[in-house]
């Protein structure tokens, strides 16, 4: 069996594989109109006719939402609440926009079907669902031209009877159905409906894509899909609950980054993935951190996802002077077209241009020298804009970098300091095309003592997919309000979830002895509206007070607490994958060493700077700043205030003075 991790997220479809004792990587240009083409071509190249187990990070669900190319979707809900999906939380996303518009609705008005039935908070059926009306509504849905249907009734997570009944009727008519209590068994009807509707919206697309892939594989091959929560599930489970895969690629990146950091001995990490238009950051305190408050394309999706914070600043972000005289960078991006000035067609200065202007990008080695840069195009534009800003061109270039670093610093502060973590206890792990040019500066801004730039940063995401555990998340709102609910009560609740988890993991092919369970509780002080997730272990109430104090600066042990949700994370380790991936992957053979002294600007002074070929570095090599470490798809800037070493697994470690 050949194990293959496949990430289709970017320009390239990345493969990382293990065949017996051999590891390898492979890259192919992505085929956006039919992503499966590149995936299958790569698999054939790697495995020939051998059997494969593929873990795939799919962008099908994400793109269906962002490009609004999902299925025609209907919604069945309580009569009188058909518009909840459109009402949302009734606020406008932009306070001062006099022409504010919401994201367009996934379910148009005429595809929302109300039916008379009602459950109240304690699970009592206040108004039953009439069989005839239910059958009539099901028929209307089937005749409406919808390809997929979401069913969401108030308090269905307490008493799912009506949803289950309606689901059966719809399935009998051949509809693809998503039931809210199965997708997200938690209170707050808008968020639950939205999550369920998004699932329904992408399900037919995901099913089509995965069926197609499965058809092209042998029966003995296995296909798993990366989820947003950092674990994988079988293709069949992903077809039912595709909403769990919308952050597939970035989640693979974080899991891969965690693994890369762990290999170098660091488990308290802040990942920093800076790309062309945006930057993703995530904090890992010994494990990936999850959030239950995400959204995509303006639609809330509350299934657990790796907590990734995104800021609209990247290498392509455009710099400009605003009417008040401040230098601004982004969020507008030059994108791939026209791209930065130095790519040949752009006319407005980007972050990449500023790096090049200061000498921090080396044109000869940009993408291995395959893409020609045009540094000569920069000078006139920098002169013109710097005159307007009353700065020297060099000050302008450094200023642009300071401004973009300050927006990324803000993102890093949000995930660390604002959540009660001291960044000085963490290591910054940088990946993504532009990250290496900024990481050392950001670390200095936040007092982070060390930066790790992993080897194979370009295939980190595929690697994360390959090594990810199989993970299933379960949750249910219970709203236990006694100040100290009996633990027996909770044991029962977890017991029910675990029974379901055993079955699901069995379907996933996990051996019983490989199964692990993590139980946790979402808790808050009675009367609050935001919960903190606390591991379910003896002393969990005290732990809640402690976490509240860490996050918000105070705890109130005298106040009653309530348990809002119970959560179970169930999983099994991937079989046949040891975690020595990184050491085993062979490097590119044609190592080159450059020792050219090059002028690079740091702190408004020109420094004679060495250029080092990353692929030629060996364990134990030391590089004192200033230096540029270049590789195929990225450049690591080692500023004068930093020193870098190469560790045993090929990762570059930078100490920040």
């Amino acid at each position: 069996m050949i194990f293959i991790g496949v990430d289709t997220g970017g320009t390239f479809t990345d493969f990382i594989y293990r065949d017996g004792g051999e590891w390898g990587v492979y890259k192919l240009l992505s085929t956006p109109s039919d992503p499966a083409a590149a995936v299958l071509a790569g698999i054939r190249h790697i495995a020939g006719s051998g059997h494969v187990h593929i873990v795939h990070g799919s962008t099908v669900a994400t793109n269906a939402i962002l490009e609004r190319k999902g299925a025609v979707t209907a919604l069945v809900t309580n009569r009188g609440f058909e518009d909840v999906i459109e009402l949302g939380r009734q606020y406008r996303g932009s306070l001062y926009d006099l022409a504010y518009r919401k994201a367009p609705h996934i379910v148009p008005h005429d595809l929302r079907f109300g039916i008379e039935c009602r459950v109240i908070p304690d699970g009592t059926v206040l108004e039953g669902m009439n069989d005839e009306s239910a059958a009539r509504v099901a028929r209307q849905v089937a005749d409406s031209g919808s390809e997929s249907v979401a069913v969401c009734f108030l308090f269905s997570f307490v008493n799912p009877g009506h949803e289950t009944r309606m689901g059966e009727l719809l399935e009998r008519l051949g509809m693809q159905v998503s039931l809210s209590h199965q997708i997200l068994g938690e209170f707050r009807e808008f968020e639950r409906t939205s999550t369920t509707v998004v699932n329904a919206y992408v399900a037919p697309r995901m099913k089509g894509y995965l069926s197609n892939l499965l058809d092209s594989l042998d029966e003995k091959d296995r296909l798993s899909i990366m989820q947003s929560n950092g674990g994988s599930i079988s293709a069949h489970a992903a077809m039912r609950e595709p909403v769990r895969t919308i952050l597939s690629g970035p989640a693979g990146g974080v899991v891969g980054a965690f693994e890369a950091g762990r290999m170098s001995g660091f488990t308290k990490l802040i990942t920093f993935d800076m790309g062309g238009t945006s930057t993703d950051v995530s904090l890992l305190d010994g494990a990936v951190s999850l959030t239950f408050e995400s959204s995509i394309g303006g639609y809330p999706v509350k299934v657990p996802m790796i907590d990734i914070h995104t800021v609209g600043a990247g290498g392509g972000s455009v710099a400009f002077l605003d009417a008040g005289g401040a230098l601004r960078v982004g969020p507008e991006s030059a994108g791939a077209d026209p791209g930065p000035i130095c790519y040949g067609r752009g006319t407005r200065i980007t972050v990449t241009d500023a790096n090049l202007y200061l000498g921090r990008l080396v044109p000869e080695y940009f993408l291995g020298g395959q893409m020609r840069l045009h540094p000569e195009r920069l000078e006139p534009v920098f002169r013109k804009m710097s005159a307007a800003a009353e700065l020297s061109p060099r000050e302008l270039a450094e200023g642009i970098l300071s401004v973009v670093n300050s927006s990324m610093e803000k993102a890093l502060r949000v995930i660390s300091i604002e959540r009660g973590h001291n960044p000085q206890e963490f290591t910054l792990l940088s990946f993504g095309g532009a990250g290496g040019m900024h990481a050392a500066f950001l670390a200095r801004l936040l007092g982070i003592p060390r930066v790790v730039v992993p080897r194979h940063a370009g295939i980190l995401s595929a690697m994360g997919m390959l090594i990810a555990d199989i993970v299933k998340d379960y949750s249910r709102t219970v709203m236990l309000r006694d100040s100290r609910p009996t633990d027996t009560n909770l044991e029962e609740l977890f017991g029910l979830m675990e029974t379901r988890a055993w079955n699901d993991l069995d379907d996933e092919g996990v051996r019983r002895e490989a199964v692990f369970f993590q139980r946790s509780l979402d808790m808050r002080y009675r009367g609050q509206s935001y919960e903190i997730t606390v591991p379910f272990a003896p002393g969990y109430v005290e732990e809640f007070h402690r976490l509240h104090e860490r996050m918000y600066g105070y705890g109130s042990p005298e106040r009653p607490v309530e348990i809002v949700n119970v959560r179970l994370r169930a999983g099994g380790a991937r079989e046949g994958i040891e975690s020595d991936v990184q050491e085993k992957v062979s490097t590119r053979p044609d190592a080159r060493v450059f020792q050219i002294g090059r002028p690079v600007v740091f702190d408004s002074k020109v420094h004679d700077t060495r250029i080092v070929d990353r692929s030629a570095l060996r364990a134990g090599d030391r590089i004192a700043g200033p230096a540029l470490v270049v590789e195929y798809s990225s450049t690591v800037v080692v500023p004068p205030f930093a020193k870098a070493t190469v560790d045993g697994c090929g990762n570059l470690l930078m100490d920040i003075a």
């Binding site: 518009d83 406008r92 908070p121 707050r188 808008f190 008040g324 918000y552």
Partner: protein
């Protein structure tokens, strides 16, 4: 000290100041107990310089824009601040807005005995006592609206003054919640102080103060550039509040805007005298509404700060509904009158900037307060919510349906959260189709919210636009007016804009909110005269 403004540092300081204010807001939002704060985000956090001038406010609620500085000014006056002190206040005639909005101000010491900066936050508490649950009553005097707190130290050198706190808590209906909210507010300020000190230690007090001042100049430049786009001239507009809930009807708000170059004077002197009912707005609210409109004219992200107001002069006559004097009732001035002030300022500017100004949005916040004793839980409860409506259409697109507009931007409370917590059942929550004004572009639709009581309770509704409709523009039709209905034992009774009533278990309150105005004539090729007779430029 002379320092040159560096275009890079000014951008960095702008980011840092605003993220400090935002982080204060996160603490407050996530730990508070009042639905108004935790679900509806009816609060604001801001940073001030040593003279009490606002440097940055997190983009929370516009109605606090112009009024926070006056609170800080009142708190500073006479307070002999020491490290760890915090001053509390809600007196509308000493820097407040209406009594439920409680502001807590704290100094940031960098060097010397005088504070270098202040941080402050204001939050709308669900109850501050007075004649009605929820403290948004149909009152005729400030004394009926709740407990009045003049500027007083609630925290002294880091310790809460429990005498003062207990005195306050004994005067409100839900003291446990209030105490939790105060803890959240105090902690939000502590977060702000800690971050300000970090900033000062990184850049030094001189640089930090210099850029605080520079940011005000920066805000001023951006607002001036927005005003410069308005052709010089005089633009007038008037509109009306339905009533004051105490018998006074058709309460006029009138503005005359004079634009000269990069400066604007807004004269509200011809507005209605202050009224017996609770729709009187204190001056700071009028200021907030004006600042909101001019801030919205600037397309770029800018900090809302003291500099933004420099090119704008707001003239009022004391003793009017836009500059109420003690002891006027003011509970609704903040929420209802503020919306109408925005309507008239935008209405006047529509003549100056054709195509850029939208038709009127719903023009009310539809405040509903429900309070009583919940027999099942054995607890007193006080619930308050505001309901969205239609936004006005613009020259380029339809108005959005079912969102809060202009001076508020609070969230709804989810039906399931509401029913878990209070003895109520929601029977309908839907979009009120067809209520947006017709036009080339349609106004947004309003909302229907129907709530059944599961225990006896008193209900206060403070709303408007039940008689005078949100105007259309450029020939567009007005949005539909709202409707307030009570259904007891199957019998429907339509109520006015503002009412207070003791209701029985099983009674139903049904609120239908207004639509937004349309833009451009609904029927093509048939030009209609200018849409509103009250347009009098």
């Amino acid at each position: 000290m002379t320092m040159k403004i560096h275009p890079v540092l000014i951008e960095i300081f702008k980011n840092r100041f605003s993220s400090i204010a935002e982080e204060m807001g996160v603490t407050l939002n996530r730990t508070a107990f009042s639905p108004n704060i935790k679900e509806r985000r009816d609060f604001s956090c801001a940073i001030f310089d040593g003279k009490g001038r606002m440097i940055a406010q997190a983009a929370h609620i516009p109605v606090h824009l112009g009024s926070m500085p006056l609170s800080v000014e009142a708190a500073i006056e006479g307070a002999d601040f020491e490290e760890g002190d915090m001053v509390i206040l809600n007196d509308p005639f000493k820097g407040g807005t209406h009594l439920p909005d409680i502001t807590i101000v704290a100094p940031v010491f960098a060097e010397g005995a005088v504070p270098s900066f202040y941080v402050a936050n204001r939050a709308h508490h669900a109850d501050v006592g007075g004649m009605a649950s929820g403290s948004m009553p149909l009152s005729t005097s400030i004394f009926q609206e709740g407990i009045i707190i003049p500027p007083l130290k609630i925290v002294e050198r880091g310790d809460i003054d429990w005498k003062l706190m207990n005195f306050f808590l004994n005067n409100v209906r839900t003291p446990d919640e209030r105490e939790g909210d105060f803890a959240a507010q105090i902690m939000a300020n502590r977060t702000g102080i800690a971050r300000m000190k970090e900033l000062i230690s990184t850049y030094g007090i001189d640089t930090a103060s210099f850029y605080a001042r520079s940011l005000m100049d920066y805000g001023e430049r951006l607002i001036r550039s927005a005003i410069r786009r308005i052709p010089d001239g005089v633009y007038s507009f008037e509109d009306f509040l339905d009533d004051d809930g105490a018998g006074e009807q058709d309460i006029r708000i009138r503005v005359k805007i004079t634009v000269r170059g990069s400066e604007a004077t807004l004269d509200f002197s011809e507005s209605h005298d202050q009224v017996p009912g609770s729709v009187n707005a204190v001056y700071s609210i009028t200021l907030s509404a004006v600042l909101y409109v001019f801030r919205a004219l600037v397309k770029e992200e800018i900090p809302a700060n003291a500099g933004c107001l420099r090119p704008i002069k707001v003239v009022t006559r004391k003793g009017t509904v836009v500059d109420a004097q003690f002891p006027a009732a003011v509970a609704g001035g903040n929420v209802e009158t503020s919306q109408r002030i925005v309507d008239v300022v935008l209405g006047a500017l529509a003549a100056a900037l054709p195509g850029e100004i939208p038709a009127a949005s719903q023009g009310t916040m539809n405040n509903v307060a429900v309070g009583g004793f919940d027999a099942v839980s054995g607890r007193v409860f006080a619930y308050y919510e505001t309901i969205a409506g239609g936004m006005g259409a613009t020259a380029r697109s339809n108005g959005e349906s079912a969102v809060h507009s202009h001076m508020t931007n609070t969230l709804n409370t989810p039906v399931e959260a509401l029913e878990y917590t209070y003895p109520v059942r929601v029977r309908e929550y839907s979009i009120r189709r067809g209520t947006g004004g017709k036009g080339v572009f349609q106004g947004g639709d309003g909302v229907v919210r129907e709530i059944q009581l599961l225990s006896d309770a008193e209900v206060t509704v403070l709303s408007d636009r039940r008689r005078t409709a949100p105007y259309g523009l450029a020939g567009g039709e007005p949005g539909a007016v709202g409707k307030n209905v009570i259904i007891s034992s199957g019998v429907r009774r339509e109520k006015g804009s503002k009412f207070h009533e003791k209701l029985k278990k099983d009674d139903v309150i049904r609120i239908e909110t207004p639509g937004g105005g349309g833009y451009g004539p609904a029927t093509p090729h048939r030009s209609t005269p200018h849409d509103r007779s009250n347009l009098s430029s």
